[in-house]
């Protein structure tokens, strides 16, 4: 009796890549499993055992992102500082502002510890003040330290969408704080007020 039916077909070859990758993946899984097991054993025997499951929310100290923009530095002698179309913003604290400030400056103290929503609110107030005063430029000066409150405030104001914001490099001292006749008291402008 002759066999008329075709010979049985050979089994399909295994996928070339899958076949080669499987042992490596298996080894990787074994390494990960052994590493994890050792971690759990070591943790179980260490005196300050770390709980496997966090029961309470973990407190993280991440500052909220602030909308930082770009602000150009200008010198204290720049004509924009005294310009009639300029709003001069003092970023130092109220006491420093009261002790000395250039004529026409308004106080918007920058608080390093303020929450981002407070900063946004202050930026909105500055924006309002600028709109009221119809000034075209905003020149910010701070304490001139490192970091400089004026530079930081200017960047925040710029990030809040306020145009033409620059800051005085060197801060109040670059505007002549010690030498220039202080105008404290005589024309002091209350915080947030525009002369």
């Amino acid at each position: 009796m002759t066999a008329n039916h075709p010979p049985p077909s050979a089994p399909p070859p295994s996928h070339p890549t899958t076949g080669r990758l499987v042992p490596i993946v298996r080894d990787a899984a074994v390494i990960a499993a052994v590493g994890s097991a050792v971690a759990l054993v070591v943790n179980a025997v260490r005196p300050d055992r770390f709980p496997l499951l966090a029961k309470e929310e973990i407190e993280t100290m991440v500052p909220c992102p602030e909308p930082m923009g770009t602000a150009t530095a200008i010198a204290g002698s720049d004509e924009r500082v005294r310009g009639t179309t300029t709003l001069l913003v003092d970023a130092r604290d109220a006491e420093e502002f009261a002790a000395w400030h250039p004529a026409g400056a308004v106080s918007f103290p920058f608080d390093w510890l303020a929450e981002s929503d407070e900063v946004e609110q202050q930026a909105a107030e500055v924006a309002k003040a600028i709109a009221k005063s119809r000034r075209q430029h905003v020149v910010v000066y701070g304490d001139g330290g490192d970091p400089d409150s004026g530079e930081h405030w200017a960047a925040l104001l710029s990030g809040a969408g306020i145009k033409n914001v620059v800051f005085v490099k060197g801060g109040a001292s670059a505007l002549g704080q010690p030498g220039v006749a202080a105008s404290a008291g005589a024309d002091a402008t209350p915080a947030g007020g525009v002369p």
Partner: protein, 171 residues
């Protein structure tokens, strides 16, 4: 010479093992250095993990406990050349995961430390940025090189060949 033949010649080139050895030693050193602080201070590393806001709370501690040990094993095996390609695969998977987590944190605008080598307290020394992602991409490419082209790793793998090890090549 046909294109397939050229490709095959490139893959078969024995020099890959030597280039790969340098990459393995470097990657192994990076991962061993990265895991030591995390192993010693799991609570601190858990804060770093939580700061990424990527994992659910229940997984944070377990991840913070086990990941550094997996890093240690992968790093040591890479240096020794024992199951080097499997270790490279593990490192590639970890690097890809870290890059996703970093991208997520950068998208959220989080101003935080990488947590790669020290705790979050070192935010000034190692803050996350797109440079961190590029650095991780570099390490990922080294791991992929070892995985794909180091068909006969120099090291203990040569003294302890596994049955059918040759057929375990990806390339």
């Amino acid at each position: 010479m046909s294109r397939a033949s050229r490709c095959s010649t490139f893959v078969e080139w024995r020099g890959h093992a030597y280039i790969s050895l340098a990459m393995r030693l470097y990657l192994g050193w990076v991962f061993i250095a990265a895991c030591l602080h995390k192993i010693a201070n799991p609570a601190s590393f858990a804060v770093d993990v939580a700061t990424y806001q990527f994992l659910p709370l229940w997984a944070v501690n377990f991840f913070a406990l086990t990941l550094p040990w997996v890093e240690l094993f992968a790093g040591v095996l890479l240096v020794l050349g024992l199951r080097a390609r499997a270790a490279a695969l593990l490192i590639a998977v970890m690097m890809a995961s870290f890059m996703v987590a970093l991208g997520h944190a950068l998208y959220l605008g989080l101003d935080m430390a990488c947590g790669c080598f020290a705790s979050a307290a070192a935010v000034d020394e190692d803050p996350i940025s797109w440079h961190t992602v590029v650095r991780d991409a570099g390490w990922l490419s080294l791991a992929l090189y070892v995985l794909c082209l180091d068909r006969a790793p120099l090291g203990l793998d040569r003294w302890s060949p596994r049955k059918g090890a040759k057929s375990s090549c990806v390339a």
